[in-house]
Symmetry: C2
Subunit: 315 residues, 2 copies
């Protein structure tokens, strides 16, 4: 492979001059610039990006720690991140964690080893104490709120949104409400339960089913909820796919929606549009975009992304 030295020799100039041509430096004699350009062309030369990154100390690459990628919510997030990265000429490396603490630390080490300029944490398994020390080596942005000053956040106020959603159902006259979540141990599940308790009083465990993520889960879960002695009149699903499953099951049982059963989903996914499912839109794409902006700017701001309830025909 030809390198900058070869080019310099062949063009009869110093490497500095070649580098200047490469970087569009202002003050270069026209003839030298041209002869350098000619040699570059002839030799089909491309600068080695690793050398550049090494000397510049930055890679214009951001790593995104993502528990799963075949998940509509994380997908929206990633989408927003990719949009913003593209806009700013940054690259995105996907770091699948599957919520493994070891993997997460491994990825943070890569930040330390200068492979990424920053890391966006979509969701995490480690506690902040483990993560924070790495903020010395690049920007770390979380998609979940934390008040640690070392960490930038692009987040939505889940607790408020859950309160609002439950209040919305209550105002529509629902007394017996059930809900689904994805992971029992997750932060959002905790907030969900907290919000539920605040609006409807102490949660009876049978009105909460966890481990839901897709349409089929919703379909199955709906069956369970509807078999309850005192069956819920409304269900808050953790995603419109799940909501769609509930919807389909309810329909299959000749239930009328929203009269017999109200359903509200989350994240305003395509499936909900066609089915007319009301949803809590947390604007995850915007959360992703903002997270990426913060990472690029190396900002440690805390930016709250507004959510809103999209009313359709299922509540």
């Amino acid at each position: 492979m030809t390198n900058i030295n070869d080019i310099a020799k062949m063009a009869g100039v110093s490497v500095s001059t070649v580098s200047r041509v490469l970087n569009n430096y202002k003050y270069i004699a026209k003839d030298k610039r041209e002869s350098v350009l000619k040699v570059i062309q002839e030799m089909n030369y491309t600068p080695n990006k690793n050398a550049i990154d090494l000397v510049r100390g930055e890679t214009r690459t951001i790593g995104v720690i993502l528990p799963y990628n075949n998940n509509p919510a994380f997908d929206q997030l990633l989408n927003g991140i990719l949009n913003k990265a593209l806009e700013n000429d940054f690259s995105i490396t996907v770091l699948p964690s599957n919520y493994s603490k070891e993997k997460e630390v491994e990825y943070l080490q890569k930040l330390k080893s200068k492979l990424y300029d920053g890391i966006i944490i979509a969701s995490r398994a480690n506690d902040w104490e483990t993560i924070i020390p790495y903020s010395d080596y690049g920007s770390i942005v979380s998609c979940e709120y934390t008040n640690h000053k070392e960490i930038g956040c692009s987040y939505m106020d889940r607790y408020s949104s859950y309160l609002d959603a439950f209040r919305f159902l209550k105002n529509k006259g629902h007394q017996v409400v059930a809900f689904t979540t994805a992971r029992l141990e997750s932060n959002s599940t905790k907030q969900m339960i907290g919000a539920y308790n605040e609006i409807f009083g102490e949660l009876q465990p049978e009105y909460h089913i966890t481990g839901c993520s897709c349409l089929e889960d919703g379909y199955e879960v709906a069956g369970q909820f509807l078999l309850l002695p005192e069956r819920p009149t409304a269900i808050y699903a953790n995603g419109d796919e799940v909501a769609g499953g509930i919807y389909l099951y309810a329909k299959s049982q000749q239930l009328k929606i929203p009269t017999d059963l109200a359903i509200i989903g989350q994240e305003n996914q395509p499936i909900g549009v066609g089915m007319g499912i009301s949803t809590v839109d947390h604007q995850l794409m915007k959360v992703g975009e903002q997270a990426c902006s913060l990472a690029i700017k190396k900002s440690r701001e805390k930016v709250k992304i507004p959510y809103h309830i999209v009313e359709r025909d299922s509540v």
Copy 2:
């Protein structure tokens, strides 16, 4: 930042020895190894990955050119790629192209600049003549078949699968069949039309609607198809989401499935399971896994991934 020189000085050894410790070289005196390790620990030292990549000439990173990422098919592909990369300790950088020729070339340039060891092309806008020269600089793997020997392929035999699917519909007694596609100019659309013509004779343009990708598209498109003077009795949708939309529209019109209208989807997506939609499973996750394996092995093999029709209740 401390570097390997600092460590060497502090431990009273040469950089070679430090490097050997770092790389678990066999022949090092126990005491020296320990003192090096101690200094590394004390200084909280992590080697600079850019320097390593530069000197080793490889990054263990693969770029994936992906037109869109919020697309179920590409998502499955990416998922397979990520799985295999994780398994082999490779990183994946997502390169969103939006089918822009310039972007694609820009990404291929990054291969040349040694940023990636290989590139996987999920789908492309450029012709092969533009792409092939870059295969000198790393492995290029396509998720679409090509007989160019420079390019590795992990692909499914779309034409055969389309033939099979249409034959399947014909054998069920369907004479008037419609279908949807995503992009008019895409390769798969061309193959689809070819297969249609082969099974059902010259395609009447009104039986083909393009630009479909989600449930709503399906919903809308179903309306159009069903208004046709001679309405189709079966529809092949380019994805189960689209099929789901068609299904829902048909149901809303009190049509019985599969009696009044048969629907077959594609890619065996979650939504189809719950709705009982038959589908042509191209095993895109496997295609992705295989593509990643080829890229890692720098192999230019052509690997065909088998498809199969999953019969459920919609045909």
